[in-house]
Amino acid sequence: MQQQPRAQGTTTPQTEPAETSGTPADAPPKQVAMAMESLGRAGRLIADIRIGADRLLEALFITVQPHQSNKPLHLIPKEEALMRQYLQDLRAIGRQLEDSGVLTGSLRSRSNSWGLHMPLVCPDGAVVAYAWKRQLAGQAGASAVDRARLALKAFTDQKRRFFPHLEDEPFGQTSAGESLVSKKHCSSQASIASRNEELTGDIKLSDVLMHLEKEEPNVRVFTYQRLDWLKRASSLSSSAKENSLESSKDHNFNSSYKLRKGSLGAVALDQVAVVELVVPSLFRAIVSLHPPGSIDPDAVAFFSPDEGGSYIHSRGFSVYHLYRHISEHAVKALQYFLGIKTDATLYFLLRWICSYQTLFTKVCSKCERLLTMDRASALLLPPVHRPYWRSFGSKSSSTPSPLSTKDQGLDFMTAFHIGCSSDEV
């Protein structure tokens, strides 16, 4: 409610004759201004009515007191007359505002409104001059929740107006923790598919992950929403310390972690933004997807399995040279796979990442050694390069099932040192 200061009401206000809020021929700004003024007047009248009611009650109270004069009896009819006048004025203004569309919002979608809508009186009594903005003066009492609600409503309306084809699920259902509903999943996938003509079939994230788990049983795959990953990354450092103290805890940790994944079910696959691949004791690779729930990777990074901290994400850098070099190479591989423009990009990337299971065992295909001194960086490194450019056999299209690696002739069996691979390319 607009609170008018009490001092205004002590003097009898001039009851102005009800003005029309301007003919429809008035320009919208004037109409808005007149409507605002009417609302102000209405507010003042309401304040006067309240004060009048107070006075009536006071007069009645005095009359029941033991010793009193007749003064109160004069007050009561006077107040009554004033109150009647106020109420009449208020009714008039109310009718006015109704006609001009302020209280009903019926004129909000007029085409000639110059982008200005009539002021709206919200359910909590506040007046909104524009559809999404409150006048700051005098609105200190509006809560942040109200503001946010109003803003969201306005934005949603605008979106509905300008993007009718993006009519997806209403706001309330996008909260985290929803279990996967396959119908919803298909509809969001269908909308992505219709946007991108290059998608031949409907390869979903679940397909990719399922295939991967079948082909690479030694690699653990986990999916996260973006914020969940942040929490997990920060907790990794503490669990790493636990492991160093009690090595037998390692088994418990891994098994309880698997349980966690199982109990979460499919972590609302349409919100998955981070895919984590862990090969125990070897590496941890993080791939981020954009948009969430899609099969489009946008960044990748490698880390030591013992590392922990909030810097562990798809654009972060490991503290160890080894994993930093692998990450560098992985970024190039990602760009290559993205350039191929097939719907199996993510799948190829993940399979390529899994080829690093042999990181500490596979010797370089050129020099037949595991560890060599890299001249450029003066570091002793194992072969960190796994070729990605030879991963496609002869086929590029027209395979019935793009995720079947036998047809594609994926070649992840070679490895090179940094120095050795530059000769190969």
Partner: protein, 216 residues
Amino acid sequence: MPLKWLLHWQPNAGTTVNSQILTEVSQCVESISGVKEGRWKATLTFYKPMLRDQNVAADYPRDFLGISLQEQPNKYYCIIRGQRIVVEADSTIQIIMEKLQSYKSRVSLNFEGFQYQLGDFQLRVGKVVPTHSENLRGIVMEVEYLPISSLDKSRQIMEEFVDIWQETVSNRSLPGHFMHIDPNFAEYGLSDHYTSQHTAVQYASVMAQLIATVRN
């Protein structure tokens, strides 16, 4: 915790270690782009039980070792090699043993030297000297590979590193070579995931080897 291998210097038959070898070895590390970082030190102590009745001496282990490591300043590691026991205790256990007069320190040795960074490797070259003495008893080297903690998965990498290292050292034509003993960690109840207890076991093995060498 990053894993490490402990190498010790095995002098050729008929020769002994001397500080010249130590200098040469340090130069070797620097020749493969090792960056000197700081000092390191570990202490190993032989304990003997304080018994009123000497007849029961046979029931008590003769090779009870205590090791303190720089990376774990609050811990003390007790090892009985004969029975393959290793225990991680708080560093105050030394004070407790002293106050209880249960075990007394017989001999104490320091492993001390310099630490070098070599990419993802950390090397520590050190001499073995009894405390309060400058008598060089041996040379040891810790090779630590930082990125991973699995002994099994890192075996190949570490072997290759040691090969590279041996090659570098052999260029200097020194009377001896570095050796690595692979203790059976499983017998001590330790797992594949590396911990400081593994380090303690390696020090105990190296100590036994050094004693055997000196005797011969």
